[in-house]
């Protein structure tokens, strides 16, 4: 189970991308996601792809590993491509496949949409691959900071996020442990009819919920025992700090935007 679940699992390394301030990473990815939709020529797509692949290479995360992480979404990308290929009926007929006409426009549309899809997923998974969950929640808390003025519970939200992120691996481990224990008692999670398999989940879910509630209670108690209280006046061990790298990366990103708009048709 754990071996296939590697989408966006943090990989420690010492790279420019790792050292980038998480706020910068989130901001840049946000704007990148926006500008991907402005591309409309081969060149502009080229520029965007160059940026994405370049960042991936700079991150020092093994490329094969990133690709493996993208495995679950390959199907979606392929599906989008085929959908466009067969549904779009504009332009000239490019070729016929088993008596079904494939149009040039469909080929282009399908290719472009799939590429967009791929770029979006690549860049966003780079965020989680190179940033620890703690950094991400810290960054989100900072970025949402202005909302505090509107009495929006930013700190509580960030805390909730970091707690749930923190307990994902724990829950996964627990799931694995309990499913093994039940498999030893003859539960078969893999074969059998759909109904059987749904029923096989009950002996897994009940113990999971029981222990999750118990753990939540213990955590709350431990936090109270150590005098935890909300965001007001709370200091941080590691303050986020913008560095020269961030400035440099902003510069590169501005260049990217300029290049994109120059190559648009």
């Amino acid at each position: 189970m754990s071996s296939s679940m590697i989408i966006g699992q943090y990989i420690p390394a010492d790279s420019v991308i790792h050292r980038l301030d998480p706020r910068s990473k989130i901001a840049i990815i946000f704007f990148y996601v926006v500008i991907v939709f402005f591309a409309n020529s081969v060149m502009s797509y080229g520029v965007l792809t160059l940026f994405a692949i370049g960042s991936a290479l700079l991150s020092k995360v093994p490329f094969r590993y990133i690709m493996k992480g993208l495995k679950p979404v390959w199907f979606l990308i392929l599906f989008t491509f085929l959908l466009h290929l067969f549904v779009t009926r504009e332009g000239d007929v490019a070729f016929s496949l088993f008596g079904w006409d494939v149009y040039r426009e469909g080929l282009i549309q399908g290719g472009a949409i799939s590429l967009r899809f791929f770029l979006l997923i690549l860049v966003t998974s780079l965020l989680t691959l190179t940033t620890t969950p703690i950094e991400i929640t810290d960054a989100i808390e900072e970025l949402l900071g202005p909302l505090k003025k509107l009495r929006f519970p930013v700190h509580e939200l960030a805390l909730m996020m970091s707690i749930s992120l923190r307990f994902i691996p724990t829950l996964m481990q627990e799931t694995e442990k309990i499913s093994k224990a039940q498999a030893s008692r003859g539960v078969d999670f893999r074969t059998g009819s759909f109904k059987d398999r749904v029923r096989a989940v009950v002996p897994l879910l009940v113990p999971l919920f029981v222990s999750a509630f118990k753990r939540a209670e213990e955590l709350a108690m431990a936090m109270e025992a150590r005098g935890y209280q909300g965001g007001e006046g709370r200091t941080k061990l590691r303050e986020l700090q913008l560095t020269k790298i961030d400035v440099l990366v902003y510069g590169v990103f501005v260049l990217l935007v300029i290049a994109l708009f120059m190559t648009r048709s």
Binding site: A181, S184, G186, D188
Partner: protein, 290 residues
């Protein structure tokens, strides 16, 4: 059932940055009906080892023979169900696996999955709670209302009700009070004798290994470090110390009796007080002669 491991290795998440070799070229065999203790530190590969005993994990290299079942690296194992019925595993903190509405239903869960008949299941429930000394009136209660020790017994009963021939115990007494620990360990010893089980006990407790097992396997960093009878193993004080394992108190007593008084005492399962008496007698006896 006879169990044998032939050059077994197990690698977690191969070909990824998290690749980890948990077991490395392990070969050993266990005779049917023996009581084997597997000792090792956290991360020595104990858990990986026992998970291969009922096919939860398939060896990455090598092969395992358990009775008539064979787990071969790179091959799909046939009849895993049969294997799991024969090899009962009591995991660490087994009470975490309870989920049914009543104790009786939870105990029946295993045998029910393996297609045992209703009448036979009822008989086995009775037998299992008798073995684990659970009062009958608990059978219709919810397992979540019980005390920790009782929950542990219910979970163990659930494994016993499968009527396994091999019983694998992964630190079955962790988190229990000393009295409960002894009760549970004695219960397993009785079951082992009565039913002629093959028992494999994973433990941190050298005392338990000495008191209950007739064969000990010490794992260190995924490899077999030492193997032999408890007496053979615990004589090797220095070798054990090298991998930060303690020698049971009684064995240490024997060693020091020999070193400091030159007295050799034969170990026949005495406890510390009895050994002390024996030592005094011998030392006095010696001085009487002078």
């Amino acid at each position: 059932m006879d169990i044998s491991f032939e050059h077994v290795s197990y690698i977690y998440q191969p070909n990824s940055p998290f690749e980890h070799r948990a077991l490395n070229d392990i070969t050993f065999s266990i005779k049917s009906g023996s009581y084997v203790a597997v000792i090792g530190h956290t991360g020595s590969g104990k858990s990986t080892l026992i998970q291969q005993l009922n096919g939860l994990l398939q060896p990455t290299e090598g092969s395992i023979q358990i009775g008539k079942y064979k787990l071969q690296a790179g091959e799909k194992t046939k009849n895993l169900r049969g294997l799991r019925e024969q090899v009962g595993v009591v995991f660490q903190y087994p009470e975490h696996q309870l989920f049914e509405e009543t104790v009786a239903k939870d105990i029946a869960f295993g045998p029910h999955n393996f297609g045992v008949e209703k009448m036979e299941i009822d008989r086995r429930i009775k037998e299992a709670v008798q073995a684990t000394k659970l009062p009958d009136e608990l059978l219709e209660r919810s397992p979540f209302d019980l005390s920790g020790g009782q929950m542990r017994r219910v979970a163990i009963s659930g494994v016993l009700a499968m009527n396994p021939e091999v019983l694998v115990l992964d630190e079955p007494t962790a988190g229990l009070d000393p009295r409960g620990q002894k009760d549970i360990m004695d219960m397993f010893k009785d079951l082992h004798k009565e039913k002629g089980l093959t028992t494999i006990l994973v433990t941190h407790s050298m005392e338990d290994a000495l008191a209950y097992a007739d064969h000990i396997i010490i794992l260190n960093q995924g490899e077999i470090y030492r193997e032999g009878t408890p007496l053979e193993i615990f004589k090797q004080h220095d070798a054990l110390e090298k991998v930060q394992l303690d020698v049971p108190e009684v064995m240490d007593f024997l060693r020091r009796a020999k070193k400091e008084y030159g007295v050799e005492i034969e170990y026949r399962g005495q406890d510390i007080a009895e050994l002390a008496k024996e030592l005094t007698l011998k030392v006095r006896g010696d001085s009487d002669h002078e």
